[in-house]
Symmetry: C2
Subunit: 425 residues, 2 copies
């Protein structure tokens, strides 16, 4: 039974990777900040130094992609060049420059009986990261995990297999050069899809699963994982233009939020405009959008103002187009906007344009999303733009970490209690 | 098909409860601190005022328990008297006195482009709490949830059904008196076991599940829940007596950690003693334990020092006895103790007895548990003892909340970003 044998072999191999990660995590948890910084800098240097090796591996991936008839968009995601390699190395240097999130005293107090209690940040442990085609995630995710003192088991997309292997090798050399365990960053060394299912059940060795990719991957991981999942579901992001908005700001923000890049999770998918100013504000805003090549799907009131608008169906209000399409609705003020967003949105990122402080505070407090903005584009929903150096994703879960997940979010805490012989009465 | 009809009816009822909780959660999230404080105080007053009602409901539960032949321990857990009712009301007053954990600015910074970013604490949303026989959990869990601005759906044990209903009614009257929605605390109004399974899949309405009870309940919830679970697994807690321990402290701490109450999760289950002092320290420590009625299960070295010791099997090192039994082992110093605890323990609560600062720091840093103590009893593993007023449990998960879960841990956060027209380049 060769199939069963090979499944058993793979399972044994995955357990071996898990056990090695667990051992590495114990060492990483005690590693001083400077050593982790040195490892990240060495990894960046290795990526620059091994540029030719990485490009050759990428060429192999691209050749295979050609044979499998990958779409041009997929090929673009997969492709590495000098600029992308430099960006990957610079990203690791940025993460090296971040403050170490481990060992911070988050709170400290003394009890009446003299016990001194401190809540201290500690690494999460072993993180399983499952992602799709972009090979740079191997460096980004490995680097963030390393900064926070974790061990990562990386399962990249099968299209980027060779590239990811070359990048992971560079990061591992960086770890070794700094005297840290190379196994703090491991790449699953097979394209066998069964490995993903095994990762999701290795509760003994993996503490947290982070999926990064399309909806079907995330949903599969949420369904099958036996560990907690830090998941990034869809971004159905809104811009609400209030009666107290400055029109110029509204025009700039709406076009940027929708059209700067349509394929990112922070791209706006719905525009809501206050009925009080719709007649005045909507025509110039929609003209900008049409001018930028955006399709408008509107309710009846919008269609009355815009001959080019397509009728919006109920499904449009919760659609994540990731394309040059925008659903546009007219609402009765901020309360109706909040209600619409909390009902149809995905609790990711939503913005209000207004100069009225009370209206803004209302929106910022009552819209139940990971990120809420006043007078700024939803496309700022990004760990780099938040100053986190990089991000492993934007968590749409309710429990922390919520929103952009950088190194500072890849930690947990423990309670350290110091006494002098106290016993409990 | 009456069975199918009744399942459909129950499902519709559970969805109705979920939708009501979601509406209440939106109101609770915006409730000012003083109003939540007033609701908690009013709930405490209602519990005192409705004492006879609650006792009558409890008598009904006790009568049914008699018919079902519940064990004396179960009956004791179920039973309410004046003292327990006073304690329940006092617990709500304690929670009322806690600082409000919502709306705290956890971090705040400004980006070079002028965006002002704040990380602000917000309620979790709707919490489903599934627990077993103790009726006081209805007040404790409902109160903590309320303090943190959440809505709770409580599913109590079927044995305590009438008592929990009377207690929940008192808490709901407290909410109403303070002008808050009564549906911020709802009790599932049926003993039908199918309701639990339904709660675990109501992802549209419930954000977090908190199981509180025995291992089989927790495991079922972890297996079936489609939402994140804040779970309290077992407490295989250790005391390690180091060569630099003061014998008197060690004796007091070991006996207290094991015998103060054997049925609590913070009770010590394994004692490890440094080989360097075993000959000198173990006999008096074991004499204390025997004197307190504790059975000793030891390795060969322990048996050589204690004629009464029973041989320990491999299973004893990871056993949660919750009884007057202690596994005792001799280890080669703090490193071996750390290795043993991380291997066999449950990452709950572990203590070292030592006067050596370096050894203590080593243990506190490297033992990978939610709570680590120096020179204090493991029985301090308790939200009340930590100064949290009360606790909904002790989380043994890796992600926050880890350790005792009080009101301050039943919140999440969001990012509030204020701009003046910024768009992303």
């Amino acid at each position: 039974m060769p199939a069963l044998d090979s499944t058993n072999d793979l399972y044994a191999e995955m357990r071996g990777i898990g056990a090695a990660a667990r051992r590495a995590a114990a060492l990483m948890a005690q590693a001083p900040a400077e050593r982790k910084t040195a490892a990240l800098q060495a990894a960046a240097a290795e990526i620059r130094a091994r540029r030719q090796e990485i490009l050759a591996a990428n060429a192999q991936d691209l050749a295979e992609a050609g044979q499998h008839g990958l779409s041009p968009a997929m090929v673009d995601r997969l492709m590495l060049d000098d600029k992308r390699i430099d960006a990957m190395a610079a990203g690791l240097d940025d993460v090296a420059a971040l403050p170490d999130p481990v060992g911070k005293v988050l709170a400290r107090w003394t009890r009446p009986n003299g016990l001194e209690i401190a809540r201290v940040s500690v690494p999460l442990g072993v993180i399983g990261i499952i992602y799709e085609s972009r090979p740079n995630v191997t460096a980004d995710a490995g680097g963030l995990s390393l900064r926070a003192g974790n061990a990562a088991i990386l399962r990249g997309g099968s299209e980027s297999f060779h590239s990811s292997r070359a990048i992971a090798a560079a990061v591992r050399r960086g770890l070794e050069q700094a005297g840290l365990p190379a196994n703090a960053v491991q790449l699953v060394p097979t394209r066998d899809r069964a490995a993903v299912g095994m990762m999701l059940t290795l509760t003994e060795f993996i503490d947290i699963i982070v999926p990064r990719g399309g909806r079907s991957l995330i949903e599969r991981v949420q369904r099958e994982s036996r560990m907690p999942v830090i998941a990034h579901l869809e971004g159905v992001c809104h811009v609400y233009v209030d009666r107290a908005a400055e029109l110029d700001k509204a025009r700039r923000i709406v076009v940027n939020a929708k059209m700067r890049r349509t394929g990112v999770c922070g791209a706006a998918e719905t525009l809501l405009v206050d009925r009080a100013v719709a007649q005045q504000y909507l025509p110039p805003i929609l003209a900008d959008l049409h001018g930028a090549g955006c399709e408008i799907r509107g309710d009846a009131a919008v269609q009355a103002l815009d001959a080019q608008a397509v009728p919006a169906s109920e499904a449009d209000w919760s659609a994540e187009y990731l394309d040059a399409i925008l659903a546009v609705g007219i609402v009765d003020g901020v309360d109706a906007a909040i209600e619409h967003i909390n009902r149809y949105g995905s609790h990711h990122t939503d913005a209000i344009v207004t100069e009225d402080k009370a209206t803004a505070e209302r929106f910022l407090a009552e819209v139940d999303s990971a990120i809420v903005l006043q007078n700024a584009s939803t496309q700022f929903a990004d760990g780099g733009e938040f100053g986190m150096g990089a991000e492993i994703g934007i968590s749409t879960g309710r429990l922390p970490p919520r929103g952009p997940v950088g190194a500072e979010q890849l930690v947990s805490y423990k309670y350290v209690v110091r006494g002098n012989g106290q016993v409990r009465p």
